[in-house]
Structures are given as structure tokens and as C-alpha cells.
Amino acid sequence: MYRIDFNKLRFLVCDDNPHMRRILRTLLHSFGAREVYEAEDGATALEMFGHYAPDIVITDWAMPIFDGLELAQMIRQPEANGNPYAPILMLTGHSEKRRVTLARDAGVTEFLAKPVSAKALYQRIVSVVVNPRPFIKTKTYFGPDRRRNVNNAYIGPERRSGDSAETMQQPSLMDKARIAG
């Protein structure tokens, strides 16, 4: 089975509630994380996201002024300077299915309803580290593939057409440097 070296991961935690931030910091440090940055609102979190380039973002939803959903939408800007592919875990007191759908459509990678448990948080982090999903870019969406399962019985409308793909290999930075040189 896979284990995660948490000391090689950098976390950004965004929650306006200081008690919940303390809980999350305690859990992440107990898992082995050393780098845990904290923000108490979405605007600060976005600034820290650009500055610290975290590997994983854990955010609350309900926060004043600039909430966790807006934070996810800001991070998932494909042309942004930061890493738009960073896994985003939405950890929230909202516990309705429609909220899950809204979060998913904002590009959230995993949704975790409070109350938080050590086991549930650990499992979500393992999931995003070990099984990253491909990203989908459409006119209206940029984020992790929202299709987690292949459902052959699905008969509703398709949001995407499945014609044959043209595959492009993006050059790595090293290749670009070689070409430029």
C-alpha cells in the first residue's frame, strides 16, 4: 500500500474559524506535515497561494467577503501565474448534495463535510496524492475530471462530445530551454 511522506508536502489551510484552523494544523502536523500555512479568509489565502505555491489547499466554504467557492474559482484559472492544478479539498459545514455539485463545478477536487475526522481527512489527502484525476478544460469549466465513474447505463445528455482526440505533448521546460539554446 502507498504511504504519504507528509513532510514533503506543503499545505495551505483557509478557514475563518481559529479553532478549526487549530484542529487542522494539529491533524496535518500529526500526519507528518511540516509546512502548513494558514489564512483566515479567501483573499489572504489567494495571496498566500501565489506566494507559497502549496501542494494541497484545504478550504472552508463559508467565510466573510471572499468565500471558499470563490477561492477555488480563482485558483482554477488556467492562465493564472499560480498552479491551477493544485488539489483543493473543500472542508465545510455545508452538508447538502447540491453544495457538493456546486463545489465540484467550481473545480474542487474533494469535498469533505464536517465534522472532520482524522481518518476522513487522511483518506482524502491520500486520494489526491496517489490518484490525481486528469483535468478537463471546456469553455465553461477548468478543473479535475468530474466523471469519477464510467456509467454505461447513463442515458442523459452529454456535456462533452467524445470524437477522436488529437494528442499534443507539451514540451517540458528543459526541452524549451534546449530549443531556445
Binding site: 474559524n17 478549526m20 500529526s30 457538493v100 517540458s172
Partner: protein, 194 residues
């Protein structure tokens, strides 16, 4: 801040109306394979750390309750202004999310009920004042009287269950012509249970 490895280049499959972007796992450097006999248990370690922190939970819940009572007092003084509404909702919402982690499951349930009233009532000014006041008072009482006594825990659970029933009756009645709210009120919660 430790240096991070360069992100690997993505492979992009272009379809007529979307792109599928696949990247080599950028967090692979943090993965290692371990056999099942590996003695380390990070979840158990984290649970122990939470248990070590638990002596502070009572004080934290008292502070959360104080915030809820102050938010309710602001509503009583000035009515449901947008700021007062938001603060009452956030205070209740925080208790809904935190209280079960801190060992106050009945307070979390009562706070969840209050959140539903604030979220789904079509006109907050028309909500019976007692319905909101009874939620706030119940949460405060449950936190104040926190106990290990199973009979008193049962009383707290009965209180929060009854509040939820009354709140849901009210919400169903006032939302009878608002199907999207009725659906949300009737939908089961996805919050994890013990």
C-alpha cells in the same frame, strides 16, 4: 520553505469541445510503497493529538456560543440586516461544523437546524422570534450543561431533535410554493455520522 521539484509537462488530448489534460503525478515525490506490517499509523497519531487537545474544547465551545448569542442579540436589536443575518448564520454554521468534533453532537444538530431556518425561510423578519431564540438558547444550554451522564445526553439529543422537527414543519409550510427549497429541506444530509 523547501525547494519544490519542477512540475512535469502535461499531455493534452484535444476534442472538439474540450481538452483532457493529463500530467505525470506532480506529488509522486511524496509517495512511497510500504508493506502492511509498517508500524506507523498516522491516523492513530492524529487522533491521539486531538485527544491531547480536547481539554481546550470546552473553552472553545463557550467562545463559539458567546459569538452566537451576540449575533442573536444584534438581530434582536436591529433586525435582520444583511450583516446581522450573515453573522448569525456564520456563528451557527461554525457550531454546526465544529461542535461534533469537540464532543457536542447535540449542539451541532441544533445549530444545523438553525442554519436551515436562516437559509430556507423566505422572509427572516416573518420567522417567529421564538423559533430562533429557542435554537440559540438550546445550543447555549447544551454547551453549558455538557456532561458524560447518558440520561442528560439523551435529554440534549431529544431537545435538538424536537427543534429540528418544529423548524422543518415551519420550513415545509412557508416553502410550499418554492419547490427548490422544499427539495433541499427534504434531501438527506451528507454529513458523516458517528
Amino acid at each position: 520553505m523547501m525547494a519544490k521539484p519542477k512540475p512535469p509537462a502535461p499531455q493534452i488530448s484535444a476534442y472538439p469541445d474540450h481538452h483532457v489534460i493529463t500530467r505525470p503525478n506532480p506529488l509522486r515525490h511524496a509517495m512511497r510503497y510500504a508493506d502492511d506490517t509498517h508500524a506507523d499509523d498516522p491516523v492513530a497519531r492524529a487522533e491521539q493529538a486531538l485527544a491531547d487537545l480536547s481539554h481546550q474544547f470546552g473553552g472553545w465551545m463557550t467562545a463559539e456560543c458567546g459569538r452566537l448569542i451576540a449575533a442573536h442579540a444584534a438581530v434582536l436589536a436591529s433586525g435582520f440586516t444583511p450583516a446581522a443575518r450573515d453573522e448569525l448564520f456564520r456563528a451557527a454554521h461554525d457550531i454546526k461544523g465544529d461542535a461534533a468534533t469537540f464532543g457536542y453532537a447535540a449542539a451541532a444538530a441544533a445549530a444545523a437546524s438553525l442554519c436551515r431556518v436562516i437559509e430556507h425561510a423566505p422572509d427572516l423578519a416573518a420567522v417567529p422570534a421564538d423559533l430562533i431564540a429557542h435554537h440559540v438558547q438550546a445550543i447555549a444550554a447544551i454547551v453549558r450543561e455538557q456532561t458524560d451522564d447518558v440520561r442528560r445526553i439523551a435529554v440534549a439529543e431529544t431537545l435538538s431533535t424536537r427543534l429540528r422537527e418544529v423548524a422543518d414543519d415551519y420550513l415545509r409550510a412557508v416553502n410550499r410554493d418554492r419547490p427548490e427549497h422544499l427539495e433541499a429541506i427534504r434531501a438527506p444530509s451528507i454529513a458523516p455520522r458517528d
